[in-house]
Symmetry: C2
Subunit: 104 residues, 2 copies
């Protein structure tokens, strides 16, 4: 199982519309990916590791797929539309990471 | 539900002993946290978001707890021992983030 993480860096004055993200963007991504997406998870950053420190990421989204190839096959044909929706909820450029799930 | 993420930045020449992490460190942390830890997850970074790009994080660990207070109560008394074990598997300084699980 692989996990595709989309991490939104918490920069000063950044915009992130969680309502739009949850109600519009995520369902659209899930629909486009179809069976390639086994599970999705979303988190909202609330704090850093030491008292008073801000969260490094304002939001994180994780898409679980059987393999990198399965993700690419599901995402590729819809990449333009999915990426094109990002400015509708944030002015951030997310960091994307693909990981192997070692303990799930 | 909150998620405490421990992210190990993928820097050139960094050391991360996944075997030690999975067989020694994680079970120790889970034991120390006890009932405060509802679930743990571990991932190994394999790629970035564009072809050929490295993963931003060489490894990520996530600890799920009922609340920030529950995590702090479980972690606090063992912080020194848990942090003291880090040099046994890595030379990296992890980024810690606490998030609210919005979609789990």
């Amino acid at each position: 199982m692989v996990k595709v993480s989309v991490l939104y860096p918490n920069t000063a004055g950044c915009k992130f519309d969680m309502n739009y993200y949850l109600e519009q963007h995520m369902p659209m991504v899930q629909h486009k990916l179809g069976a390639a997406c086994k599970r999705m998870a979303v988190e909202e950053g609330i704090a850093g590791g030491v008292p008073g420190a801000p969260a490094t990421y304002v939001a994180m989204c994780h898409i679980f797929c059987d393999s990198v190839e399965a993700f690419q096959a599901g995402f590729g044909p819809h990449a333009k539309e999915i990426m094109g929706d990002i400015p509708n909820y944030t002015d951030l450029s997310p960091i994307v990471q693909i990981s192997e799930v070692v303990v799930g």
